[in-house]
């Protein structure tokens, strides 16, 4: 079976810094894949390359066999790939409902239909009660869920989630984990960037580890956790974290 998404030998440099180097991986239909790696490993750059916000210097991205390289972000959304941003980007002066409608309009150009879709998505993520508040008035946890809801409203086949759990407390993280699991259970493939390892281990069916822009491991969560290269890459990271401030 051909994978849903194929990233093939992707490379991207910024000036003299090679952010992504010869990176290949794929995501199957309905799969939940996590992309992990230490800070600065190039994860967010990978998302930008997949979603059309950056153009790769070399390599190809294909969604159901169709190359996405050179396509604009909005066209990629229409093909069924949606993303969230690590730093959430709500439309602050629009209501929560309007925010989600913008996503829903991608599939339902008629505003009343898009509104009905948006309400359904808001109920799913538990923001139904906040639909008439301006998005700028939401808490961080609510904004994270709004970010997810907007992307979900575009009805993607593949959803790229960039650290939707960062900065949340345990209870909030638990809710998002349940939410993401539910979305995936409906058949939406998910590519997850996440630092919260508990969430990654709970959610991902497969994990791709990158470090310095290169893939260093690809496998099931239990094997990844024992991989010496992964431990090495992360130990350096933990060592930095453990150093006295």
């Amino acid at each position: 079976m051909t994978p849903l998404l194929t990233a093939e030998r992707l490379s991207k440099s910024f000036g003299g810094v090679q952010a992504v180097k010869d990176l290949s991986f794929d995501v199957g239909e309905g799969e939940m894949l996590a992309l992990i790696g230490p800070n600065g490993a190039g994860k967010t750059t990978v998302f930008a390359l997949l979603s059309g916000f950056l153009r790769p210097d070399a390599g190809d991205v294909r969604l159901r066999g169709h190359s996405l390289v050179g396509e604009k972000p909005h066209a990629i959304v229409a093909r069924g790939l949606a993303r969230t941003f690590q730093i959430v980007r709500p439309f602050p002066r629009l209501t929560v409902l309007r925010n989600v409608m913008v996503g829903a309009l991608a599939r339902h150009p008629h505003p009343p239909t898009a509104e009905a879709r948006a309400r359904a998505v808001l109920d799913e993520v538990g923001l139904g009660g906040a639909s008439h508040r301006p998005a700028g008035a939401l808490t961080l946890a609510e904004r994270k869920r709004l970010e997810l809801a907007r992307a979900l409203a575009t009805e993607p086949a593949l959803l790229l989630l960039d650290e939707v759990m960062a900065g949340l407390n345990d209870a909030e993280t638990e809710r998002i984990v349940e939410l993401v699991r539910g979305i995936n259970a409906r058949g939406v493939a998910i590519l997850l960037i996440e630092h919260v390892m508990r969430a990654v281990m709970a959610l991902a069916q497969r994990i791709v580890v990158i470090s310095g822009g290169e893939r260093i491991a690809d496998g099931r969560p239990d094997t990844i956790a024992r991989d010496p290269r992964v431990i090495e890459a992360y130990l350096g990271d933990e060592h930095v974290d453990a150093a006295p401030a």
């Binding site: 604009k72 972000p73 949606a82 913008v102 991608a106 505003p111």
Partner: protein
């Protein structure tokens, strides 16, 4: 809100029968600048692309209609459409340069000002369109030449223009395009990640806005019976166009109208009281102070506050 609007419209329709010619004139200017403000509102308010050169479209629309009338004998009613179409083309050129090459914020402001200034300098130096003297229209009172004996006809035309532009914006608000434009204004990158073709919708906003603004140019020329490059292409007119929607509430349907009913009477009063005795130009200072007050205390314009007060009165 709808009833209030209908009642206000009914009052405006009967007003010329009761009011003095002076009051009618004041209202003509309120409607006309509210119209231009509403046209600007599409690109400047909804889409959040701050054009500070909308005078270019007024001037191009006005010059086109007047030159076609003087040289080719074309009725300004038709010339008006040609002028609006040319303005839309100019708007598309400015929009393409700005949006294709990612000029945002102040850079887009500068681009639009630069185009208006180029238009002004060209009009100043091309004798075929009157050069620095401009163009004068001889009064004939012929309606087919967009000329009327009775001031009240201009009143109704200006009101019709305002209703037209407001109708276009109301339609936009209910359409996908209007929602997309406000998303682009709030966060362009986030909107693209949700499937919005930001370039296409910004172009649409610019073209519709410049078309309507160009249409207004003909009214301007035939109401004042003359055209001078510095007046119709100048930065002061661009500022006049922007100030009302910003005072009233940019990106809202009622904002430009509310702004016109606030700014134009203020302007008129300051002109009445400060026109003599060495106070010449003081109305411009009053204007500047008003703008500062709005930016400091009503950054969203007056409309959100008015709506809140109306909502409280009903509750």
């Amino acid at each position: 809100m709808r009833w209030a609007g209908a009642a206000a419209l009914a009052a405006l329709l009967v007003l010329p029968a009761l009011a003095s010619s002076y009051v009618v004139t004041v209202f003509i200017f309120i409607f006309f600048y509210a119209y231009l403000g509403q046209a600007w509102n599409i690109v400047g308010g909804y889409a959040g692309q701050l054009s500070a050169g909308h005078a270019a479209f007024v001037g191009l629309g006005a010059y086109t209609a007047v030159v076609l009338s003087l040289r080719a004998g074309l009725s300004p009613w038709l010339g008006m459409l040609v002028g609006a179409a040319l303005s839309a083309v100019l708007g598309a050129v400015i929009g393409f340069l700005g949006f294709r090459f990612g000029l945002r914020g102040f850079y887009f402001v500068l681009l639009t000002v630069a185009f208006a200034e180029v238009c002004r300098i060209v009009a100043l130096n091309v004798d075929a369109v009157g050069g620095a003297l401009g163009l004068y229209i001889t009064f004939t009172g012929n309606p087919w030449q967009f000329q009327f004996q009775d001031n009240r006809v201009y009143y109704y035309i200006a009101l019709a223009f305002l209703l037209l532009a407001t109708g276009v914006v109301a339609l936009l608000e209910r359409h996908r395009a209007g929602i997309y434009l406000s998303a682009i204004r709030e966060d362009e990158m986030a909107s693209e990640a949700l499937g919005v073709d930001a370039f296409r919708y910004k172009m649409l906003a610019m073209v519709v806005s410049s078309f309507l603004t160009g249409l207004g140019g003909t009214f301007y020329a035939y109401y004042l019976f003359s055209l001078q490059p510095n007046a119709v292409f100048g930065i002061p007119l661009s500022v006049e166009i922007i100030i009302r929607p910003i005072v009233g509430g940019a990106g809202t349907l009622a904002g430009p109208i509310l702004g016109a009913f606030i700014v134009s009477p203020l302007q008129e009063l300051s002109r009445l009281y400060f026109s003599g005795g060495g106070w010449h130009g003081a109305h411009l200072i009053a204007y500047g102070v008003l703008l500062i007050v709005v930016v400091l205390f009503l950054p969203q314009g007056a409309y959100p506050y008015v709506r809140r007060i109306l909502g409280r009165a009903r509750a």
